[in-house]
Symmetry: C2
Subunit: 410 residues, 2 copies
């Protein structure tokens, strides 16, 4: 009877699914997989740099010494020993924490989903940077908020815009920010802006969600205080080992007031009962050897720094004068602004044809903006591949510009 | 200013959180951890029976041969090779599937959450068995449905009740059932009821969610057809390796029409980007060796069968005549019905004092019923401990009955 129907459940889906669109990140995983394409798209860490023998040794230790625990269910908050390691990693960035106030999540991404679940009612306002991390927009969108977008400049979120919005009467449920080497813009919030944001949110009683996946991947300049360390009571802090160790273990966490953590743990248990004891214990063991994890992390930082340098140099060398871009002090990404006639979404197919990929800017705005922007990731390809990829991109942009000018000359 | 506040975000939480209560399962994990208590509460598989050396060997293979993949991000649908193994495991139960129609989830629990996310709008009706799996009630409750409860008898869900509800005008978004050795009741849906449920739902266009974690743990009787194999188009099927291998790898899956899978994959990516490639590949390798997984599974089935026998015998021997219980053909649980004056929630503290634990019946109803019921799990404790635990429970029940009668005699 319904044989011809493409989707027989089409009338049954929840309203929240109408906001769910094909994940651009996922589509690009497929593109990036073709070896002849230089992918400047995906934000995959360069896990090939990890000492494979050490990882194997740690996994062997866990299964040999803690096998039955590793293979069993655990509590929703996550292994205490791993929460201690999360506390240690946060201390590296000046954040003081109690392991009781930490919940381990499936990457920090799950913390975003669970925060959406416990905080967002349909129609609630969530303040985000513009551009913002696409995964946060997708996670929150499932709970049907209205997004309030706050522009970025070289000092990060323009807090004055948020202030004006609040004066206008907007009351965000929370403000979401990636203050260090943000995804996609690669900019870092200045100390002045950090202090102003924290003061504004404290005064107006608006919680801040500080997402800090890249903080330990700094190439230059002095670390700035985390928002959480400026205001431990009003800031919910998210961390992860996806960039400092491995995303394959799916270990992230949230640090918050214990009352928030209790709700996050209940939401976590409803979502998947518990994380994997095996990967939690493996991650705990990895970070138990100070020399090992610091040496592996330094190796990653040096690799990423060299790749960033290669990309910045190639952009300088190849890109037309009409393009501008950010200068990341750390992390994975450069954000390129192109002339206003550019449509990076429409251009992506042509780019892939020329064997280079990027993420179109529109992915990072909830409101359809960003067609003249693109995100370039330097984390995964080698320096030579980065140079080759940027050169390919440059010819595409030149051709696009020539085409545009020829139409507007005639 | 808010120093005295217990929960400074108390006015900010989403409405859906008002339905979230302390997970009884979690509270009982804590109780079960005390070695002097015989826990008949938690449904922990007996992972100690797994051949530890074999698991270590498989983990070593994965990290040695596939390290960079295991430690990297993956796609939201999960590793294809593992989806092939899921297809193989479903074929064991007579379910024919295409790996394209499978999404790997963090245990089947995450599939429940994602199904709630894509199907349930606030106020929608979800039909569940009474009693039902507490984790399903919790997962769905986050999306604020109204539960329609359908009673169970020894043949499983009383489908006639669902039929009458539909005639009354109820239109469930979906029907959720655990047809094989259900949690908590330990009963199995008869063939007659399976056929009737499938026909009813097909006619009325109501999807069925069939959750089958225990299907391969049968101790007696002939396997009955899965609902999915009776109606592949209208049944969404959930599977897991948590009971046939290990819950520590957090590997479950959903099988559904490809249009549903596409939405589940988007919801999965929004929830946590992807599962752990490491535990997915480890699970894939585990099930790649036919002799190995079959032998480990047979070992588990024999262990659980002996423990079920010990429990049924102990119940027969010790429990007062006023108690009745189910006879599970497989799985982990016996469901005990006590005299109507019993309050198993109130009695739990006294039980723990007498060094035995169970799950009170109210956990498994969305409407506060079940105070005179309890779930007993035989999966984890040894046969001696089971006998000891049931004996302790029996003295408690006898004392409770004596107390009740003394009050009502006077």
């Amino acid at each position: 009877m319904a044989e011809f129907s493409i989707d027989r459940f089409v009338d049954r889906y929840a309203e929240r699914t109408s906001g769910m669109s094909a994940s651009e990140v996922r589509a690009l995983f497929a593109v990036a997989a073709r070896p002849e394409v230089v992918s400047l798209a995906g934000g995959m860490p360069y896990v090939e740099a990890l000492p494979a023998q050490d990882v194997l040794e740690v996994a062997t230790q866990v299964l040999r010494d803690l096998g039955p625990t590793a293979l069993q269910y655990g509590g929703g908050q996550g292994q205490l020993a791993l929460r201690d390691r999360a506390v240690m990693l946060m201390a590296e960035e000046g954040v003081d924490a109690d392991p009781d106030d930490v919940v381990i999540t499936t990457g920090a991404q799950q913390a975003l989903d669970l925060l959406g679940k416990i905080f967002i009612d349909p129609g609630d306002i969530v303040a985000v940077e513009a551009p913002a991390y696409v995964g946060a927009l997708t996670a929150f969108a499932a709970y049907q908020p209205r997004f309030l977008t706050i522009e970025l400049d070289d000092e990060g979120m323009i807090v004055e815009q948020l202030e004006r919005a609040i004066v206008r009467g907007e009351r965000p449920t929370f403000v979401y920010t990636v203050p260090n080497f943000g995804n996609p813009a690669g900019v870092t919030m200045s100390r002045r802006r950090r202090e102003r944001l924290v003061a504004l949110c404290r005064e107006t009683g608006i919680p801040i969600v500080e997402d800090n996946p890249y903080g330990l991947l700094r190439f230059e300049g002095e670390p700035l205080p985390c928002l959480r360390s400026l205001d431990p009571r009003n800031v919910i802090y998210l961390g992860t080992v996806s960039k400092t160790f491995s995303p394959g273990v799916r270990v992230g966490w949230a640090l918050a007031d214990h009352s928030v953590i209790q709700r996050l743990v209940l939401a976590k248990e409803a979502a998947d009962l518990c994380g994997s004891n095996l990967t939690m214990l493996l991650t705990e063991r990895w970070f138990s050897d100070d020399a090992r994890w610091r040496s592996a992390l330094s190796g990653l930082v040096e690799t990423y720094r060299a790749r960033r340098d290669a990309m910045l140099q190639a952009l300088e060398e190849h890109l037309p004068d009409t393009a501008t871009w950010t200068h990341p002090f750390g992390g994975f990404y450069v954000w390129v602004t192109l002339p206003p006639w550019t449509d990076t979404t429409a251009m992506l197919a042509a780019a892939v044809e020329r064997r280079v990929a990027y993420v179109p800017g529109t992915a990072f705005y909830p409101d359809g903006r960003g067609a003249d922007r693109m995100r370039l990731a330097y984390c995964y390809p080698t320096e030579d591949r980065i140079r080759e990829g940027v050169a390919r991109l440059a010819t595409l942009l030149e051709d696009d510009e020539r085409l545009y000018r020829s139409f507007h000359r005639s």
